[in-house]
């Protein structure tokens, strides 16, 4: 019974009891947990669980998107003025950086499926580098906002900022402050997800380094990849909604 409580490790093959060996003799994969019939069932269960978790994440971010939509509709001009003060080129660059990191994630999984250990490690390192680049650009963006006193709070200031397309009409600082509050909460929550993702990928890199992933067993890579792609999708929506309101005026 000792076996059932242990994590799947390739090195456990020697420690599996003869009883367990007998029941699994047909597949002989030590990464297969006792309560799953086949490797495919184990893999499907893991990815199903991850998709359920991502569903809760969609609702988590969904509430913020809902708040954003309501206020954007109410205070559209003020939101456009506040959005115009953010550097859209930085946001666009960050979008491209995240898309590149998503590519390196799928390439890492492909490398694991085809037993290319060096490529797997290289792709995981690249993914983490792209993740760090994203956070660095984000930090620059936040610093600009702090310097301009666009952070909601006691020192917030958004005086005499024209509403795009309405010369001589100034945005209401109180309404612009709502935009910046949503901007910091949504991009901040996204950045926290990125930091958690970097933590996950550090662990995946460690596992890959130790040679734990094989064409038969690389479920952690797929699950970690699902999380990374989800965070990418959130950003795909955040970029046009926060950075590009009424940019044509």
């Amino acid at each position: 019974m000792r076996v059932t409580n242990r994590r799947p490790r390739l090195s456990d093959s020697q420690t599996i009891s003869s009883q367990a060996m007998a029941s699994h003799s047909h597949s002989h994969n030590p990464a297969l947990l006792h309560h799953f019939a086949t490797e495919e069932q184990q893999r499907n269960s893991a990815s199903f669980g991850m998709w359920i978790f991502l569903a809760t994440e969609v609702m988590f971010f969904g509430g913020l998107f809902c708040a954003y939509l309501i206020y954007r509709r109410l205070y559209f001009g003020d939101f456009a003025a506040a959005s115009a003060s953010i550097d859209a080129a930085l946001g666009g660059t960050n979008t491209a950086v995240l898309i590149c990191s998503s590519l390196t994630v799928v390439l890492a999984i492909w490398a694991a499926q085809t037993s290319r250990r060096a490529m797997l490690i290289a792709m995981l390192v690249l993914t983490m580098l792209f993740g760090c680049a994203f956070l660095g650009i984000k930090a620059k963006e936040y610093k600009d906002k702090f310097d301009e006193h666009h952070v909601p709070g006691a020192t917030f200031s958004f005086e005499h900022e024209e509403v795009p397309g309405h010369p001589g009409e100034y945005a209401n600082p109180r309404h612009a402050e709502i935009f910046f509050a949503l901007y910091f909460i949504m991009t901040g929550l996204h950045a926290i997800h990125m930091i958690i993702g970097l933590g996950l990928f550090t662990w995946l890199l460690w596992m890959a380094w130790k040679g734990r992933f094989t064409p038969e067993y690389h479920t952690p890579l797929e699950i970690g990849g699902l999380y990374w792609h989800f965070v990418d999708i959130v950003w795909i929506y955040l970029f046009p909604l926060l950075y590009l309101i009424d940019r044509h005026k």
């Binding site: 609702m59 666009g92 998503s102 994630v105 799928v106 044509h248």
Partner: protein, 107 residues
């Protein structure tokens, strides 16, 4: 096991597909950026959201391997997620969109 090796084979073959999706996503990002600079009237937001949704679909279908996923249960989770998100967004906006606020709200 036969079905398993079939899906494995399908994933191996799609390496060029991954690069094609990557290029499409980068083009989509550039499109989003430049479309925002064009005056499309009321359609600016719609165009931005259509491009974003196309990009999100590309990521979900090809990078997250939703396309070719055999399990119906998984598809049910994805469809119900979108369904509940739409309830959250659409019903809230129907509420706020049809209210009459005398003067200005919370001013």
């Amino acid at each position: 096991m036969t079905a398993h090796s079939d899906t494995e084979h399908g994933q191996h073959a799609s390496l060029t597909g991954y690069f094609a999706v990557w290029i499409a996503l980068l083009i989509g990002t550039a499109l989003t950026y430049y479309a925002a600079k064009l005056d499309l009237g009321v359609f600016n937001a719609a165009v931005a959201l259509i491009i974003a949704t196309t990009k999100a679909l590309l990521v979900a279908l090809f990078f997250m391997h939703l396309k070719g996923a055999g399990e119906k249960l998984l598809k049910l989770v994805v469809v119900s997620t979108i369904f509940f998100l739409m309830i959250l967004l659409a019903l809230s906006m129907v509420d706020y969109g049809t209210r009459y606020f005398p003067g200005h709200l919370w001013s």
